[in-house]
């Protein structure tokens, strides 16, 4: 095993260092989508598609890099809702069914495309892809992907961190310190119970930060978090190092800022790599393209078209009709883009070294689901970037934020400014005309839960009451998820988001009512516990003020 702690780059020799750190951070999150009350449920496909296209390929990449003894550090934030879903037996079982259906569809496609050799070649590729995923998931990892991530953490290549319990957007929950504290603490508890150690860092949902949040983080334990670029550049004291050195928020918790250039190259709709004409087109899917009679067994209720994961076309260009996807060419482009990314970082480091008094740190955070799901070749690009960064000829060292804080214990002190990485850079995506109605309701439920916990402080409750109280906390937490206002604004599955929001609030109202009246119906309570089977160790007493 190679030692993964990066060797210290040259000390702050302004004109000659030419060495810098690069921290790639992937944030893996999906809302809690699990519906045992239905035989199958469309939105559970969000998880299944992410496992197939993102998480299993990511683990495959980690396995190959480990086998090849590549020296690297990657950071992965796994949300508590995703942890809960990945370890859920019902969803694991449903995922196996999903994969088998994909294999079946790919086999059917091989037959259908028998007179179209290029399409048939792709259909065979999809069959191999789904079968390989099935083997890896079921045989190699025995349906436990969290164990795979844990293995790579133990190998020293992966820094694992987490985020708020249900990914609540903390700047808009801050009307109650209790709400923020529980989002943070419950998230960390889930992580500790899963991985057996405390997360060294914390991913603020949507990078949503407000001054003072660092105190809640300090109390909970993590040593660092991330903000968007303007969170650092608009800090209380303008940092001379820009986003290329973290700030100490004044209490020992460090804030790392996102590097805009690294983000733009990957995220931007215009300039970003994923929009290249050779890459696979996400929006071209046979679920929407083939005859309804043919595709009916593989779509929703046999009549509503959905993505199947089988896509035959590439992005192409301009107004051209979509050309057929050519995998080898796409993978070659991913390698070319990885070279470009590394060259750009090297140029950045060269420029920064002439001005900075310390080794520059470039932080490049991305949604994990970009890699593989939205950008099919993303995992290949990432693997190439990591392999290229391991080349000693360049001055880039992959590092985690924990490693950096060990190397550079002395940081400038300043308070970041309130910010997020969302549209317009603040809170407006999560509070606007499409979703502002939720906040009085969510805050009210939180306040009532707080009052309930406060009123019962020091009093003995029986087992049934305790279950109802804990379930009430789960309902409040699930209603606080940032995903529901996000979807309402994005205009995608808005009916579902509204229903989830109102269902969780209704479940809270029901539980609150029956607890107050001391008339708890165990059958109803059990049903709610089965439907929202998350956070098994939650304790309502912690929701007190």
């Amino acid at each position: 095993m190679k030692k993964n702690t990066p060797s210290p780059p040259q000390a702050a020799n302004r004109s000659t260092c030419r060495q810098g750190y690069l921290s790639i951070v992937l944030h893996a999150h999906l809302p809690y989508v699990r519906h045992p009350e239905h035989e199958s449920f469309f939105e559970e496909n969000w998880l299944f598609e992410a496992i197939t296209e993102c998480y299993v390929p990511l683990i495959g990449m980690l396995d190959r890099l480990l086998n090849d003894r590549v020296t690297f550090r990657l950071t992965l934030s796994i949300s508590p809702t995703l942890i809960a879903m990945l370890s859920d037996e019902l969803l694991q079982s449903r995922y196996l069914d999903y994969l088998q259906r994909r294999v079946q569809l790919a086999e059917q496609e091989i037959v259908r495309t028998r007179k179209q050799p290029k399409y048939r070649e792709l259909a065979r590729l999809y069959r191999r892809f789904f079968l390989h995923t099935l083997t890896v998931y079921r045989e190699r990892y025995r349906c436990d992907l969290l164990a795979a991530f844990k293995k790579h953490h133990a190998a020293g290549n992966l820094e694992l961190i987490t985020t708020a319990a249900t990914h609540g957007f903390l700047p808009l929950l801050n009307v109650s310190e209790t709400a923020v504290r529980n989002q943070i603490n419950i998230g960390i508890d889930v992580f500790k119970n899963t991985f057996g150690f405390a997360p060294p860092g914390f991913w603020l949902p949507e990078c949503g930060y407000y001054p003072g949040l660092e105190n809640a983080l300090k109390a909970a334990g993590p040593h660092y978090f991330f903000v968007d670029s303007h969170g650092i550049t608009d800090a209380s004291h303008r940092p001379q190092q820009g986003v290329y050195a973290p700030l100490d928020c004044g209490n020992g918790v460090a804030a790392f800022g996102r590097d805009p250039a690294s983000s733009r190259q990957v995220w931007s709709a215009q300039e970003g790599y994923p929009g290249d004409a050779d890459y696979r087109e996400y929006y071209s899917d046979i679920g929407f393209e083939l005859d309804l009679d043919y595709i009916a067994p593989f779509i929703l209720d046999g009549e509503t078209r959905i993505n199947t994961g089988i896509k035959y076309h590439r992005v192409s260009g301009g107004n051209q009709s979509k050309a057929i996807y050519r995998p080898k060419r796409a993978l070659a482009k991913a390698l070319q883009h990885a070279h470009h990314f590394i060259e750009q970082r090297q140029r950045q480091i060269d420029a920064l070294c002439t001005e900075m008094d310390r080794t520059p740190m470039i932080v490049a955070p991305y949604d994990a689901e970009l890699f593989g799901h939205w950008w099919f070749e993303g995992p290949c690009w990432l693997e190439n970037v990591i392999r290229l960064a391991d080349n000693n000829a360049n001055g880039i060292r992959l590092i985690s934020c924990s490693d950096y804080l060990v190397q550079q214990p002395s940081l400038k002190i300043a308070t970041p400014s309130a910010s997020s990485w969302g549209h317009e850079g603040y809170s407006s995506y999560w509070i606007n005309e499409s979703n502002d109605w939720i906040y009085p309701l969510v805050h009210k439920a939180g306040a009532e839960m707080e009052k309930l916990a406060s009123d019962l402080q020091g009093l003995k409750v029986d087992a049934l009451q305790e279950r109802a109280l804990n379930q009430a906390v789960r309902s409040v937490l699930l209603a606080q998820a940032s995903d529901w206002p996000f979807i309402m604004k994005s205009g995608t599955t808005t009916d579902y988001a509204r229903k989830r929001m109102t269902d969780h609030l209704a479940r809270f109202n029901y539980l609150h009512d029956c607890i107050r009246k001391n008339r708890i119906n165990e059958r109803y309570l059990t049903a709610l516990e089965i439907m929202d089977a998350i956070f098994p160790n939650v304790d309502f007493r912690n929701y007190g003020p």
């Binding site: 009350e37 670029s229 550049t233 995220w267 949604d367 407006s428 009210k444």
Partner: protein, 164 residues
């Protein structure tokens, strides 16, 4: 299970019911806040009758901290926005004089008898996001990297898809 879920959703649907009067401010961006409020009808009616004056509009009065002492002479320490309804919410555009104020608070009430202002609910003090705008550091110039075009930014939840 499905029946229980549907029954609970139907019978316990969330609604804002009258409780104690409250006014909540939420930060949106350096130029906007969001306010929501719930007021009690009785004191408003009583006040109206007592004063025997034509009905006055509800006013949201926002107070902002003065950043520079020199500004105190020039800047109003508050500004008013006319709002409506015992329960309501509204996006509030901050006036230029309050840009950069680190914190704001608000009251909701009615102006009566000239300068007097009857308060029905008070908010907590909240921090406002700061924007330094204009200035750029040498790092920004060198890398042409100060901030993404916001319309191109993405956020979490990219696994969520459209149904159609």
């Amino acid at each position: 299970m499905l029946m229980i879920s549907e029954e609970v959703s139907r019978e316990f649907a969330p609604k804002i019911s009258g409780g104690k009067p409250e006014l909540v401010l939420l930060p949106v961006d350096p130029w906007h806040l969001h306010a929501y409020w719930t007021l009690d009808q009785n004191p408003i009616d009583a006040n109206q009758e007592k004063k025997a004056e034509p009905e006055q509009p509800l006013i949201l009065r926002l107070y902002h901290e003065i950043v520079e002492p020199a500004d105190e002479q020039q800047a109003d320490a508050w500004f008013d926005v006319v709002v409506g309804g015992l329960q309501g919410q509204q996006k509030i555009e901050l006036p230029a004089s309050s840009f950069g104020a680190p914190r704001v608070s608000a009251v909701i009430g009615k102006a009566v008898s000239g300068q007097a202002f009857t308060v029905y609910a008070r908010s907590k003090i909240i921090p406002v996001p700061r924007s330094c705008g204009g200035e750029k550091s040498y790092l920004d110039h060198q890398n042409a990297s100060r901030g993404l075009p916001c319309s191109h930014k993405h956020v979490s939840g990219q696994g969520k898809e459209t149904r159609s």
